[in-house]
């Protein structure tokens, strides 16, 4: 049954979790990946559906915060799920503090759009009328790229706050949608700035296009399973990043790796057969993944239910 996930995080059992042995030996030391991520402002986490983007985003945000950065984890899916991994109630759109240097927000684009209209378009009493008009509805629903722009704009605002009294975040980890929509997010500022050249949105699009295009400030982390289809999608993502954006993923995270099965007690059982096939598929996929133009970081499959303890253990494994 569905259990409440509000328990408090307790210290990890350090010796109980088997880590996958390092399969690709050309891998750089783990800490260097984190260093290269930490110098970025915005980290966009994308990948195939179901590979654990939210889990990895949460673990990454947590780890960067543990290492001393002031980090905001931004979730875009209005149906919240990251809060469970942080042991929090749903955020309902507010910024919540959830530990030393770690903050969380479920971004609700429509709310942000309405706020932007209120703040930036100072027409006073007409605003409410504008917002109630069908044209506004249509514009918001029908303007391609607007939602993406608003999400990235909110991230940028947290990194470079317009008011001096707001403390900026050093890193924003954005739990972005799956590959196709994730790429659309990356492309939106440029597309919009081509269509809308003036006005606050035109300016915002231009600013964001510059920000997104700067590899020192914005990076992409691709999450994948070490499994045929997911790896294929990851390699395609890398190709699109290179062809359409002239950039590389900062890091590929191969999530959910089956460690070696050392127990020989049940080697002929169906479970063990599934295991050895999955593991073989993992190894094969990691070999294919080695061709990707980005470092690959391996995360083990952990026998832990979805919740704060899983995020903590994965943060440690990063």
């Amino acid at each position: 049954m569905l259990r409440q996930r509000t328990r408090v995080y307790t210290a990890p059992r350090h010796d109980s979790i088997p880590l996958a042995p390092t399969i690709i030996t050309t891998m750089a030391p783990r800490s260097s990946h984190l260093r290269s991520l930490r110098r970025l402002g915005l980290i966009l986490v994308t990948g195939k559906g179901g590979v654990g983007k939210t889990t990895v985003s949460t673990a990454l945000a947590r780890r960067l915060a543990e290492d001393g950065a002031r980090v905001l984890l931004l979730e875009m899916d209005p149906r919240e799920s990251a809060h469970r991994l942080l042991g929090l109630p749903p955020s309902g759109g507010e910024v919540l503090e959830c530990g030393e240097g770690l903050y969380f927000q479920n971004l609700q684009p429509r709310r942000v759009i309405d706020r932007l209209v209120r703040e930036r378009i100072r027409i006073g009493p007409i605003v409410r009328k504008v917002q109630a008009s069908p044209i506004y509805e249509h514009f918001v629903a029908g303007c391609p790229g607007l939602e993406e722009l608003v999400i990235l704009g909110a991230a940028l605002e947290q990194l470079e706050p317009p008011h001096a009294r707001t403390t900026p975040f050093q890193v924003v980890v954005l739990d972005a949608p799956a590959t196709g929509h994730g790429l659309a997010l990356l492309a939106a500022p440029r597309l919009v700035s081509e269509v809308i050249e003036q006005g606050p949105f035109g300016r915002l699009a231009g600013e964001l296009a510059t920000f997104i295009g700067n590899p020192e400030r914005c990076g992409v982390v691709a999450v994948t399973h070490a499994q045929d289809l997911a790896v294929q999608e990851t390699l395609e993502l890398c190709r699109s990043l290179e062809a359409e954006h002239g950039r590389r993923a900062e890091l590929i995270v191969a999530n959910g790796l089956y460690p070696a099965l050392t127990s020989d007690a049940s080697s002929s059982s169906p479970t063990a057969r599934i295991w050895s096939q999955r593991r073989a598929a993992n190894l094969q996929a990691l070999e294919r993944l080695a061709a990707a133009p980005a470092p690959v970081l391996q995360l083990p499959l952990l026998p832990i239910d979805d919740g704060p303890r899983l995020a903590a253990e994965l943060a440690r494994a990063l």
């Binding site: 569905l2 088997p18 559906g49 179901g50 590979v51 899916d77 149906r79 378009i121 027409i123 009328k129 504008v130 008009s133 069908p134 044209i135 509805e137 249509h138 514009f139 629903a141 029908g142 303007c143 391609p144 790229g145 949608p177 799956a178 196709g180 929509h181 659309a184 939106a188 597309l191 269509v195 809308i196 050249e197 003036q198 006005g199 949105f201 035109g202 045929d228 289809l229 294929q232 395609e236 089956y258 460690p259 070696a260 099965l261 050392t262 127990s263 007690a265 049940s266 169906p270 479970t271 599934i274 295991w275 999955r278 593991r279 598929a281 499959l301 952990l302 026998p303 832990i304 239910d305």
Partner: protein, 345 residues
């Protein structure tokens, strides 16, 4: 007799990303063809992996392609769809003359909208499904719905189109906003006048407005057709000719999603067939070695987690039929692998 032997002519495979919708859709298609129904499997998956699984290649991008398979039964066809091609085709089909068509296809707003508008992929899937259904060439059609974070966009797409067409927005948008010299006619916008114009101009600039106005003007003759079909599609999706197949994973994290889908389908009056619980790990034989530090503890955990998830889903779904598909040793990557799924449905 299982559910699939009694399946109606349209099967819509829904579920959140990564649960194996495409594989289940292809498996269902194979099963239906083997049972003697001429079947078309359509997918909107941008990674187009159906083409590899069914071995049809990129040729299926434009037109349905026959799947080369041995064994008894009727022909199986596969079709890979993309939103842009479908939208362009619609514009070409329903434009009354070539000038209108070129005006729409060349419009900057259309150019961005056709690929980028949220929900357009979903609407195009429905639109194409209806088109193929109307042609009546296939006895069974299986649609692998687009991967989307909000998978119910798919069901709401026709309703949204109808709402949009019924709203005042369109009537306003369709008025000639610009005079012959390309200047905005503020008086044309009822009730808001200069305020809205000024607001829109400050917000996005007049150029975009002009593109939008051009687009809607050119599109006007097409809208009646759109509206009518959107209503027909809605009716079809709720009729006896249609059944929804909900795919989910057995792990706890997936359960809220699956229940959400099931509830929304029921609320919307859409006929839900079985819930397919995909990739269920078997129970670990014997005593789980919980203290062991090797992979066996993970095997035991996976088995226990999945059995728990299946039991929870079954009790929460009540009378809805569930079909449990085991975690296969190898993910189906071709017709042989697909047969493993197909025979278990």
């Amino acid at each position: 007799m299982t559910w699939i032997d009694e399946a109606p002519s349209l099967l819509l495979v829904v579920g959140s990303g990564g649960v194996g919708k495409t594989t289940v859709a292809a498996g269902a298609g194979l099963r239906l063809a083997e049972a003697g129904h001429e079947t078309l499997v359509m997918t909107f998956d941008p990674s187009l992996r159906l083409k590899d699984t069914l071995g049809v290649g990129a040729a299926a991008l434009d037109q349905p392609v026959a799947v080369a398979r041995s064994g008894p039964g009727a022909p199986l066809w596969a079709s890979l769809l993309d939103a842009r091609t479908t939208f362009d085709r619609l514009v070409k089909t329903y434009s009354q003359d070539s000038a209108t068509r070129d005006c729409i296809l060349g419009n900057r707003y259309y150019h961005h909208l056709a690929g980028g508008l949220a929900g357009i992929l979903e609407y195009m899937a429905v639109e194409r499904l209806f088109e193929v259904y109307e042609e009546g060439q296939y006895q069974r059609i299986v649609l692998d719905t687009p991967p989307t974070s909000q998978a119910l966009d798919f069901l709401e797409a026709p309703q949204r189109i109808v709402d949009f067409l019924d709203s005042g927005a369109l009537r306003v948008a369709m008025k000639p906003w610009f005079d012959d010299r390309g200047r905005l006619r503020a008086s044309r916008i009822p009730g808001l006048g200069r305020g809205l114009e000024a607001w829109l101009d400050r917000l996005v600039g007049i150029d975009l407005l002009r593109d939008m106005a051009d687009f809607f003007r050119a599109f006007q003759p097409l809208f009646d057709g759109f509206r009518q079909r959107a209503l027909q599609v809605q009716k079809l999706l709720r009729s006896k000719a249609t059944q929804f197949v909900l795919v989910t994973g057995p792990d706890e994290a997936r359960i809220p999603d699956a229940l959400f889908f099931a509830r929304r389908l029921a609320e919307g009056g859409y006929p839900l067939g079985p819930v397919v619980i995909n990739r269920v790990h078997p129970e670990y034989p014997g005593q789980p070695p919980w203290n062991s530090d090797d992979g066996a503890s993970i095997l035991a955990w996976q088995g226990a987690r999945d059995q728990r998830g299946v039991a929870a889903l079954r009790s929460l779904l009540g009378a809805t039929q569930t079909v449990v598909l085991p975690q296969l040793e190898v993910e189906p990557a071709d017709l042989t692998g697909l047969a493993e799924i197909s025979r278990r449905l």
